[in-house]
Symmetry: D3
Subunit: 246 residues, 6 copies
């Protein structure tokens, strides 16, 4: 199967990092097409960033559909544009936050999220409400790390910072698992699992395996109900280039 | 005060219609600047429409801030981009759905929403959850009317369709008020109130009066917490023109 | 417009204080009729106080209706008797807690309430549930100040106490706005807003501006549904004088 | 034990009816003191009725405390004044709606309420929220019977009307028990249980037995927390006579 | 009346302890049949314990029904097998957690639970959700005491430990009552109530009095709806002996 | 990987049916060990059935752990014993209801469940609450088919009955996907998907693919928190044979 892994920010180094993590978990025969948005912010940390990331993200969804991919993964922990992407796609579209949270629920009765800036916490909390996870997630913990600090390989300093916050979560929140709250932490998952002795879940790899699972079941995005394909209508200005195909 | 009324779709006729409604309720001294997005969809009915409307909407927010407006109203019942707009603005930003629902709660213990296409119902329902209104709103009722059918003055046929749905709401839902679920219905509010004998609330005029109220209290968007101004970061491609000012 | 501002306790000095605050924010042409209950407790801090405040409050609603006021404001942060008052009135009736919370939601994604005695916290929390604000309000904070300590102009000592609690709220609760939890704090709103750099919302002035907004839209209390006028029935003893007019 | 059964409306015939029902279920040694409010409405069906019933009800609580009763029952399905009464009392105070709903939960996984006028349904629904019963109660069903129609022995016509609504509840709501939504239906409980073959629960008798249970356990209203006794403060006018004892 | 008090673990000393507590509160004429499961764990602290306790518990329910008891009490704070027991029984079945929580709500606006091992906290929290008590219970507090430490009379050391946790609950949680979270604490209820000056509620005695109350009202488990008697079907192996009677 | 597929009832024909479905979706290298409980009910439709199925189910979990399987699937839509199983296992344990609901959320914004007897509906509804799916599942629909009617290959008559209910769900509930509410419907998934044109999700195959996904990520049941391994304690009688290994 062909799986499009979309980094919805415009930072190519981060795309590469995710792709490495994704390729380490794929089944035989799964091909990862790692791409990033051609337009938009270098990282997604605010509602403005998210809003301006959407056109580039949707363009990638359209491109992937045209290329016949079997699934899309949106690799940003805020799951930006998930509903819009599902309207455009017939292949399944998986957000890494939803994927990580689902996986966490299968191996622990509760989890905490360890994420980047405090600024992003409310976004995670809205997702928890939306996904029905408020009673499973005990706390969303910010580390104060900006997304772009995780652009390349994670430094020892930041590894320590993230590991320390995970340890605090285990000590104070009474949880059985940790969800990593940024695609840029994908390279830490294995070592943290070993160090902490509990499941540590990275959304990128979780989403890749869920995409394979859906593909294996032949499940595709429903085109009946809320994710039905939008009808054609006039789009004006630069947005016209991103509009759904007629 | 100077109030920017933003139609976040690109249909100028609809902007004019809203402006007429807004100007009928303003206090002495309030000036309405009615604008629409320069880029984006002709109407907002799907998640894709909403996503692609955001850059143009945010550009208007930036423009309004630069022009020193005292408040912004986002005149689409899905309240698109409300969080992002509040990040960019120091003036208050009011969505017409939130405004209409708040007003309805002050004059009735429950209300129903009468809206356009069935397609838009889930968006309204998500707003109800977000605004804590699930126990106050009994039902969101679709009329099957597309937004652009309401572009110019509402036809007699559509007036009847909307009025009939309102009557059904009163008969079946046990509510004390009706909220109109589209900015394009702003011209029907007065006649429906008279015909139905209950408060019928249009979000455009509700938002305009709330904006005046906030201005009268000197209240502006909090720059502490979630609506803090986004820091500068690289934006790539056509999105760079919509990015927050440095 | 003629707006009846009702202090539902029997302390005239507090009525005067509210009236001053109200008159500072009214639009040209709005007349404030400030009154207090003729019977009942000197302040409202317990369920017993609230229960025994209701007859006097409803008598004022009746009097105001007879006098043809355009709106009523119930100026006690517990919003006592709001449903009963709306049954009796055709003019809109606004409680200052509901008003303040609505305004806070328009300028901040979350707020904390700073109120008087710990005793009153559960009342505020029940209102939060009733108004759908539980996810917007992070915390209700008691200062330990009795309502009657705020009877006249607020002393420097109490100003400091209240200001300190507001600062704690900003530091610990992560909120973007403060709601003042007592009508007796109405004189502190402007200075606290300036001192704290975030929106500080007083319910008295918020309610007054909402009342003007409703009047400007021609919205009146729905007489269909839960707020329908009660039918006549026998009332016995001293309560007969407070009963709804036949 | 001495149990004060308070009819919070002023209709003595209804008090008598309740007392008969209560005396049929008491244990040996339990004495029922059946009283009604000396001031207030003849029946409680609206928020205004409830507000104006509170002073008379609280006066009875005070009188019962002075007389040393072991428990109080407030015999109106809206549980009016329950919090205020608990502030005044050291003996337990039980509302008949809370009592009936608790009992229903012990013998059925879900129940419906069959009540009087549609007007009273929202009150019952607010109690369901307050008591955490929203998932246990499937529906609150109005029969259109005014409370005073149930003043004396229930007529055959009304028995049939109520029985029919109970049958509808069983057929349509999938519930295992019926809760009768008015103290005036206390005389129907036994015959309906036999006719319907499911538990039919009347709040008056349920509350009496709960009061005996609490007394048997030596449990009294907590004077720590929200039900602490209110401190003395000035009460003005006719309300002074109802105020808590110094 | 004949009341079967079932200890669903296999530790007879604990049964004796509960029986003593139960007999201290029964009315004249109530006979306590205290029994324990013949098969299963010595104490119930995990989901595995609970699962393996169920066959023995259900066998006791069957035996009690055959013996014509008037009510069953399941005396373990996790209310294990309550739904299954109600399917098998026509007499009422009361769990001690549900009983204690109901009683607490009648005498205090909020309570905390003081229980045994931290391991059992999530079970109590699931019950709170199931019983609609999440807003009434402020906290479930573990003392770290294993259930079997409470097998015989509670030692002075453990009395102190439990008393201290109750005091912490009052000091930190702002509650008006304490619920004891283990049947093995039944002997502490009276002394703790006196020492703490607030209602302290033990589920065993609470359930016994509720059982008497239900019996006094003639209420029995509904056989319509979810608690209908299971039809006969093949049961294989050792489980056949526990299966519902044909 | 070695995946233990546990049918927690004692009907071997149903085990075979599930195994066929499971083997159709496994990846290369996944081995399905299909087993059923040695003791317990022939089908699980009531709380009593579930209670008496647990010992046999847990025995299989123990056996699978001893055999070193990489994951367990509990193949009954009530997800019986899931928490207890996770306490016993270090391999992941997946319930088919949780699996199916998770998959449904990835391809549709809402779904309905089509299940067997009305009797089983409350169990499904409790799972929806537990899994945070109440806002995603619009309705649980019973077909009136007993589980054992689905023991062998599903008859044409029952296929039609189930298909018709699915069509009703799509027509009336406005959902985008169907979840099949019984492991015995696993053979219908593909044909229903084709016939209905929307995703139809069977829990057995969904769980198998999720198990592979978890294995691919190296995720195992957390032994910290609620799923920690139970300590040894005395188990009496026939239950001793099912107790956790020392």
């Amino acid at each position: 199967m062909k799986l499009q892994l979309i980094n919805p920010n415009t930072t190519a180094a981060m795309t590469d990092k995710m792709a490495v993590a994704a390729r380490q978990v794929v089944s035989v025969g799964t091909q990862i097409l790692a791409v990033q948005s051609a337009t938009g912010p270098a990282s997604i940390e605010t509602a403005v960033d998210e809003a301006l990331a959407l056109p580039g993200l949707l363009a990638q969804i359209k491109a992937g559909e045209a290329a016949g991919v079997d699934a899309h993964v949106i690799a940003c922990f805020g799951d930006p544009g998930l509903r819009a992407a599902r309207e455009l796609a017939t292949a399944p579209v998986i957000g890494i936050a939803e994927a990580a949270m689902q996986m966490a629920c299968l191996v622990a009765s509760s989890f905490s999220v360890v994420t980047t800036l405090a600024r992003t916490v409310p976004t995670a909390q809205r997702l928890l409400v939306d996904y029905g996870m408020t009673s499973r997630c005990r706390r969303v913990r910010a580390t104060g790390i900006a997304v772009l600090e995780l652009e390349a390989q994670t430094s020892d300093l930041l590894r320590k910072k993230i590991g320390d916050e995970c340890r605090l979560a285990l000590a104070e929140d009474g949880v059985g698992a940790i969800v990593l709250g940024c695609a840029g932490m994908a390279d830490l998952c294995t070592e943290l699992t070993q160090a902490l002795g509990v499941p540590v879940i990275d959304g990128v790899t979780a989403a890749v395996k869920l995409a394979e699972a859906l593909a294996g079941l032949g499940l595709r995005t429903s085109k009946q109900g809320d994710y039905a394909r939008p009808g054609a209508k006039p789009y004006v200005g630069v947005m016209a280039q991103f509009a759904p195909a007629a």
